[in-house]
Each structure stands twice: as structure tokens, then as C-alpha cells.
Amino acid sequence: MARWILVAAAFVAFLPAVPSWWIAWRYHRIPTQEAGVLARVHETAPGAPPLTGAEAVGAAPDGTWFVADWALRHVVAVRPPAPGRWLPAEGRFLPRVDTVGRLHLLDVDSGVLYRFTPEGRLDRRVAVAPPNASPLFCLAPDGRLLVAAGGVIRRFREELAGLDPSWGPPPHAVPARATVGLAASAERVYAASRDGTVSVYSPSGDLVGRQPLVGNAGALDAGPDGRILLADNPTGRVFVLDREGRTVGRLVSPEGTAPAPTAADLGSTADRRLAVAAGRSLVLLALPAELP
């Protein structure tokens, strides 16, 4: 009897710890690469308020970062070390910039998208999502706009000339539930879902794969080397996904921890810089020479 009690105690004591080894080993096997911190932007401009609720960021080809502060309800254009410039548009926006430098601001409350010329002039205003649908959007390399809202992803034709009929069967709205991140490369569209997976679509909107995520699902960005970058908002971690959406790497600070305190959104540039919107700051990182 005493021996059986000892066996049972040992079973209870050590068996539940076995998964810890398995989980820690698998997590450890995800390759990490150091992302050096180039700058942490908190102050924006002399006399102007600092960042308090940086929730979204868009990268322009000229090196300017457009940061949407949802607490202050404005967008600030920053290009360190120069002082930032607050834009007049008021609201909670998602900023994205296309390859020719046109800023797109999606008002997440009204679902209206504003497009500005590289000179800063408003040239299009289009409702791309219903009001209060918490929409997300991204720009494909060919400039076409993809919008996730209300459980579907839609694609717009060039110059925002209506829905793209080459995206999915009619009504050209591809189902994608609880989308929290959206990115497009030349060959694929990626949607991270709150259920902890990333769905991969072909350019015609066919679902070609779905992969489980290791981190929390969050904002996506089509980074260099054909990789997709995933922002894990509550932890500030940045994961690297391959073309199929599999987690293949993780960016870390020089100390081996998450590179930012939080990561609500991220945006990268062709010259391998990455910006992470982290609430009270914008963290600018140097991406490694080659992503995992």
C-alpha cells in the first residue's frame, strides 16, 4: 500500500511536468534573430503631446512613419531625428502607404477610407466597410486594397474603382472570421484570426492553407525576404512566418526578450527597418540581414 501511494505521488508530481519540457523545447527551437533598436519615439514635436495610444503604423517609401494615436485621435508623421508633424485628420485611423507614396487612412469607426497624394492632398474618399465593423486593411504590392470587416475579406480594384470581381466567387467576399491581422504579398493574402490561426489565400481568394500560430494572433505585415511579420500585441513579440504561414522565427531584443512592450501594429520598409506601434511609443527596429 505504502509503495502504491509513493508511485501515485510520483505520477502526480512528475507527469504533468513533462509537457513543460515539450513546450519549452518546441518554443526554444523557433529560431530567434536579434533586431537592434534604432529609436524609441515617445515625444513627437516641441510643444505637441507625446504618443499615448499608438495603435497603428504605416511605412512610407521615403522613410516617414505615419503613426495613428487612437487616444489622441490623430495621426503623426515621424521621421527621426526630425520632429514629428501632426496631420489635421481627426479620428481613429489605420494608416498604410502604397509604393508610390500615397497615404491611405481608414477611419475604423466610420469605415471610410481617405487617400492622399504624396504631396498630402486628399484625392479619394471611399466607404470600404460598414460603420463600427472594426475593419482592417492592407495594400497588395500591385496597389489593390484588401479590407477585412464583418467576417469577410473584400478586394478593391485599382484606383478603388469598386469591388474586384477576380477575388473569390460572387459576391466577392471571402469568409474570414474574427480577423485581427491582414497582409498581402505578390502571391498570397494572409489573415490572422483570433482563433489562433493564420489563413493563407491565393490571389484569387481561394483558401490554400491554414496554420496554427505560436503567439497571440495580431497585426500582420508583408516583410522582406518573402516573410510575413506577426505582431503579438499583449507581449510585444514579433514572429516571422514563412510563405505558407508557418511560424519560422522570432525577433528578439539584445537581451533575448520581446523587442517592444506591446505590439498593436507593425510596418516594414524595403531597407529592412521595422516600426512597432506600442501604445506610448513607436519602436523602430533594424531587421536582421536575412530573416529566418
Binding site: 511536468a17 509537457p19 513543460s20 519549452a24 526554444h28 489562433g196 507581449t235 520581446a258
Partner: protein, 447 residues
């Protein structure tokens, strides 16, 4: 005899289930901890590093599988996650209640065994933590209690069986350590109780540390920065104890709820508690085996009596030790602890006590008065109970040793008085702040 012993254990187990089942199913399911547990469970299921997700989990990774299993099971069978998590507590409580009957039957007699087992089974502190709050801290007293039962059984066993039972006691105590770290402080008392040689005590301690170490090693090897950052970061909050009593004074006098209070006193009070615990460990050699078993009550009592950052669920972990020691002061402790917990929940987390979160505050002057008085009385009671245990169990010690212990207690009381005075000054500062009421919407002050 055996059927009645088993019958009594089954009856107490059924009673344990009966008093907990309704709150498990219906009450407190919107409590503050469940979302944290759910996120932890989801992270574990997807193979994430729980420490990198900052889940307020400063413990060994051993218990991460429990929320994960509950998340997976909830998705599979459709039962609410909260209920499944509480059912884990319920299973632990039921097992312990039955085991306590069996463990006490021979030594205390049938009637006492049942009565003392009921002191755990029907204890409102345990019911609140396991079935209302749903905090997994409840599993700590379960495994501490099982370790005590194994230790008790070893006392009358044949030598080979005794060795197995002592090893089982160490491992079961080790599970409690792996679950929530704090039972680490019980290891010396258990070791002195169950092992008579230095080598035996060292072996006991090594076994008791093994489960936590076994689960933590991979994180120390491969995820050290996140693991250490999380494990070393938590210092508690002034929810229960003397600091909570002081925190409640502005609430009582001015309806001023301080969500951040006494942060500067947590460090000194932790040092005081650890110092007092170290003194209690130093006193173990003079207490004798029975005294050492009862001295296992000292860490939880000193924790509540001296430390400022006590959360409500910590009040449960000394209960099985008092039950096995048949210490009647458990009744008064349970009364004060229940009052302090209840008042804390009413003021700060009413959803723990109710079926749905209340639309309006449920607190009032009475609950605020209870919050202050019960917490102050509980802390004082725990200090007095600690002194009483040491005084009673050190009766055979030399007068010089007893005088030394008394001096230590006096010194601790003096330091505590200084800390309380500092806390009182912080209360005075909070009360001296003039709160200007906001003008009514659309109105202009003074108009």
C-alpha cells in the same frame, strides 16, 4: 471498523461536494481570474511560452497544464471553462476531505476524525477560494494536506513502508511547491517532523523540491530571461492583512477606494516575514516531532500576520495543517478570515460572490467597517497564534532558548509597529487630499 471508516470518509466527501456544487456551477463565474487562466491555457495549448505572455504567473510551470486541459475540454464538451476549472478544485477538496478522515481516524478517534475533517470540508475560506473565486491556489492546501496524511501514516508504519510514506509526503509537498512556490517555506518543518537525521532531512528537502525543479529546468535552460522576469516580479497587493486594514480606512471614512496603496511597505514587510520565518526555522530543533508538524502552521500564519501583500486566496493554505494538528484556534481564524475575505470581495470583486456582475456597487459602510476590523483582527490573531504555537511547543526547551524566542517575537512586533505607523501616515496623507467634486455635466462651478 473498516466499513465505518470508509463510510465516514465517503460521507464527508459527499458533503464536501454538496456545499461546493452550487457555487461551482452558478456563482462567481465572472470573477477576475478566469480570463487570465483562459489566456494561459490557450497559450499552453498552442505551444507558446507562458512566461513570455506575462500572465501574472510567478510560479513553476508545473500547473500550466491545468488551465490548458480546461480550455481544451471546454472547447470539446461545451462546459464553461470556469466551471471546469472549479471542478478541478472540487475534486481536490473532495479527495482531501476523505483522506483527512482516514488519516485522523486511528489517532484522534472516529468522532474527532469526522469533526476535524468537516472543519476543512465545510470551511468557508476553502469554499470561497475553490468554488466562488475558482483560484487554483486551492490545490495547495489539498497537496499539503495529502502530504500531512502521508506523514501521519508513516509514524506508525513498518520501517520499509515508513520510508515509502515519508518519500510520498515529500513528493506531495513538492507538488504543492510546484503549484504555487510558497509551500517551499513548509519544507523545513516537514523535514524536521518526518526525518530524524540531517541526511534524511536533506533527502526530504531534495524530494520536495524535485517536482518544481523538474518542470522549471527547461525554462531555465531555454527561456531564462522571460522565466526569471515573471517569477521574480510579483509582490502581491494589500488585499488582506494589516496593510489591507489600513487601506480600508479611507474607504470607511471617506468612501475613498485606493487601488494602489502601501507599495513602499511591501518590501520591508516581506523582509520582516522572511526574518520571522527564518527564526521559526531556527527554532525547529527544540520543538520535537509533534511540535514541528504544528510549526508548519507558522509560515502561513506569519505570512498573513506580517506580510502586507496578501491576496485573499492565500488564507486557505494553512487550514489542513491546523486540521491535522487539531488546533482549535482554527475556528476563530476561519471566522476572521471569512469576514476579511467576504468584505474584500464585496468591496473590490463583488462578481466573485454573485451569479452575474452587479450593475451597482454592493458595498456600504458596514462592509467597509468589516473590511477594516476583520483584516486588522486577522493579522493580530495570526501573530498571537504563532507566538502561542511556539510557546506551547517549546515547553521542553531551555529557558535561555525560550527567552531568545521571546526576544525575537518582541523585535518582530516592534518592526511591525513601525511599519504600521508608516502605513498609518500614508492613510493620513490619502485622507488629507482634498477631492474636488466634478461639476455636473453642463454646469459651471460656482454658478
Amino acid at each position: 471498523m473498516i466499513p465505518s471508516r470508509i463510510g465516514a470518509a465517503v460521507a464527508v466527501a459527499l458533503l464536501t461536494v454538496a456545499v461546493r456544487l452550487y457555487p461551482v456551477l452558478e456563482l462567481g463565474n465572472h470573477g477576475p481570474d478566469f480570463e487570465n487562466y483562459r489566456q494561459m491555457g490557450a497559450a499552453t495549448l498552442r505551444g507558446d511560452d507562458v512566461y513570455a505572455t506575462h500572465p501574472l504567473f510567478p510560479y513553476a510551470p508545473y500547473s500550466q497544464v491545468i488551465p490548458a486541459l480546461c480550455v481544451g475540454l471546454a472547447d470539446t464538451i461545451g462546459l464553461p471553462f470556469q466551471v471546469l476549472l472549479k471542478l478541478v478544485n472540487l475534486a481536490g477538496d473532495t479527495l482531501l476531505a476523505a483522506v483527512l478522515v482516514l488519516a485522523l481516524w486511528g489517532r484522534a478517534g472516529p468522532r474527532s476524525a469526522v469533526v476535524w475533517s468537516l472543519a476543512f470540508a465545510l470551511n468557508p475560506v476553502s469554499v470561497l477560494v475553490s468554488s466562488f473565486h475558482g483560484n487554483l491556489m486551492e490545490l495547495v492546501p489539498v497537496f499539503v494536506g495529502l502530504a500531512l496524511a502521508a506523514g501521519e501514516a508513516s509514524r506508525d508504519a513498518a520501517p520499509r513502508a515508513r520510508a515509502s510514506l515519508v518519500a510520498a509526503a515529500a513528493i506531495l509537498l513538492g507538488v504543492a511547491v510546484a503549484l504555487r512556490s510558497f509551500p517551499l517555506l513548509l519544507i523545513p518543518a516537514f523535514a524536521f517532523w518526518l526525518a530524524s537525521t540531517a541526511r534524511g532531512r536533506a533527502a526530504f528537502a531534495a524530494l520536495a523540491l524535485a517536482p518544481a525543479a523538474f518542470s522549471a529546468v527547461p525554462y531555465l535552460l531555454w527561456s531564462r530571461p522571460d522565466f526569471l522576469k515573471e517569477v521574480l516580479s510579483y509582490s502581491g497587493a494589500a488585499d488582506i492583512g494589516w496593510l489591507a486594514a489600513l487601506r480600508g480606512i479611507p474607504l470607511l471614512l471617506r468612501d475613498l477606494k485606493l487601488f494602489s496603496f502601501g507599495a513602499g511597505l511591501l518590501g520591508p514587510s516581506k523582509a520582516l516575514f522572511l526574518l520571522a520565518w527564518a527564526v521559526s526555522v531556527a527554532a525547529l530543533p527544540i520543538l520535537g516531532p509533534r511540535g514541528c508538524r504544528r510549526a508548519a502552521l507558522l509560515p502561513p500564519l506569519l505570512f498573513v500576520g506580517l506580510y502586507g501583500g496578501v491576496a485573499a486566496q492565500y488564507l486557505v493554505w494553512g487550514i489542513p495543517i491546523a486540521v491535522v494538528s487539531q488546533d482549535r484556534w482554527l475556528a476563530a481564524y476561519s471566522l476572521l478570515a471569512t469576514a476579511a475575505m467576504g468584505a474584500h470581495y464585496v468591496a473590490f470583486h463583488p462578481a466573485i460572490l454573485l451569479a452575474t456582475p452587479p450593475a451597482t456597487p454592493v458595498e456600504g459602510p458596514l462592509s467597509h467597517a468589516v473590511l477594516v476590523l476583520a483584516n486588522g483582527a486577522l493579522a493580530a490573531f495570526c501573530c498571537v497564534w504563532s507566538v502561542r504555537i511556539v510557546r506551547e511547543e517549546s515547553g521542553a526547551a531551555s529557558p535561555a532558548a525560550r527567552r531568545l524566542l521571546a526576544s525575537g517575537a518582541l523585535l518582530a512586533a516592534l518592526i511591525l509597529a513601525v511599519l504600521v505607523a508608516r502605513g498609518a501616515a500614508e492613510v493620513a496623507r490619502a485622507l488629507s487630499v482634498v477631492v474636488v467634486p466634478a461639476p455636473a455635466r453642463g454646469g459651471v462651478p460656482g454658478s
